[in-house]
Subunit: 214 residues, 2 copies
DNA sequence: TAGATTGTTAATCGATTAACAATC
DNA sequence: TAGATTGTTAATCGATTAACAATC
């Protein structure tokens, strides 16, 4: 994937800021200082100011940050001003769950279609989303100008599907299969999310030698 | 959560090594050098050797690493030699998907029960896992010696559920609700996995100023 | 204005990479 | 043995934290 000049660590904190700012706005908070936001999010005030200044100065000396403005600015940075057409390949448990995940609808993501080879039967609906045979994927992507492809297939076919998505013109791939997908030569962004990797960091900590904890 | 002496960056690479080693073993590879493993995983040989040496020397000079031994050693570090009793609170899309996720069964995780307040109706089965009223959670945890609690509830109740889990004696929490759960004063490990945070890093990259890419 | 708080530079800390002696 | 490759120390790089002048 292409590497931006803003470090990955900073980028991965932005959605977190966004989440907290949405909460603050809901609670009617109008302004917030980096120090208070730091206490709220568990980060240091210094880091927050550094992070925001990767994208320009959003605050005002002596005042802090306007919650709504900052929230909207970060939404823009994260690309949330746009609407995204999404397809999901692999209509198993995870694929179906994501098709039904209302949080995404609220944030401007439309699941336009599910693709699979077998079950649930092609032609059925999963919460209003039609399941297609995977052979039709490329044609669908081109016709509906799909932005994001989600891969929830078994590991064995994930890389092949990713290549086909890239070939068909998809620009962003969100991969849940337990294999790292990367398409460096193509102009495609890939975000790998490995559920089991996350779970194994938890079991690591559960089994950590308590003597080594501090 | 307690902080180990091994850095978080190292810990988060261990499941990845494990994944690749499982693959290598499946493909009949018996030994591998840090350099080859580096090319395979996309990391540097130096980093791999540093990472492994956080836990002791697993290799042999002039030879490299025995794939099966290394895989088993890392499995042990990640706590995969044990079996885990798991409950899921929140039987919505994500909760049901995780209850059905066969990958976990293969790795020694048993989903003993689902808990919810309403749908799917309490008393029904989701792929062989019974749905209980959430009031029964504490009693169930104590009776069945549950190790891990998965939170797939709405945001609004996630923190309360986490506290109840900790109170009931659960030692590890895997939180999917879009709110950071942390229980610093309790002896509980929490792994937050925010699906939408991951998605937003993808949309960030999709909207990145191409001039800033290199 | 005075107080508060940012934007930004400098200092520190930690993680990654490089190098190489040890040794299989 | 000679070649290969680790384990480990030292050097570098980058990210976080601290400090403070700018300014609202």
């Amino acid at each position: 994937m292409v590497r931006s000049r803003v470090s990955d660590a900073v980028i991965r904190r932005m959605p977190r800021y966004y989440r907290y700012l949405v909460d603050l706005e809901k609670n009617g908070v109008e302004r917030i200082s980096s120090e208070k936001l730091g206490r709220y999010t568990g980060l240091t005030a210094s880091q927050i100011r550094q992070d925001f200044n990767c994208f320009g100065g959003f605050g005002q000396q002596g005042y802090g940050y306007n919650v709504t403005d900052l929230k909207n600015t970060i939404a823009g940075i994260l690309g949330l001003h746009k609407h995204y057409q999404v397809i999901i390949v692999g209509a198993g448990n995870v694929g179906q769950a994501l098709a039904n995940y209302t949080n995404f609808k609220d944030e401007g993501f439309t699941v336009a279609a599910l693709f699979d080879t077998q079950s649930p039967p092609v032609g059925t609906f999963v919460n209003g989303v039609l399941v297609w045979p995977v052979e039709k994927m490329e044609a669908f992507v081109r016709e509906h100008q799909v932005d994001i492809g989600i891969i929830t297939t078994p590991q064995s076919v994930a890389r092949k599907i990713a290549e086909r998505m890239a070939e068909a013109g998809i620009k962003g791939i969100w991969n849940f299969a337990p294999v790292d997908v990367s398409l460096p030569e193509q102009d495609v962004c890939v975000e790998n999310l490995h559920l089991s990797d996350s779970l194994l960091t938890l079991t690591y900590h559960l089994n950590e030698d308590p003597a080594k904890k501090e």
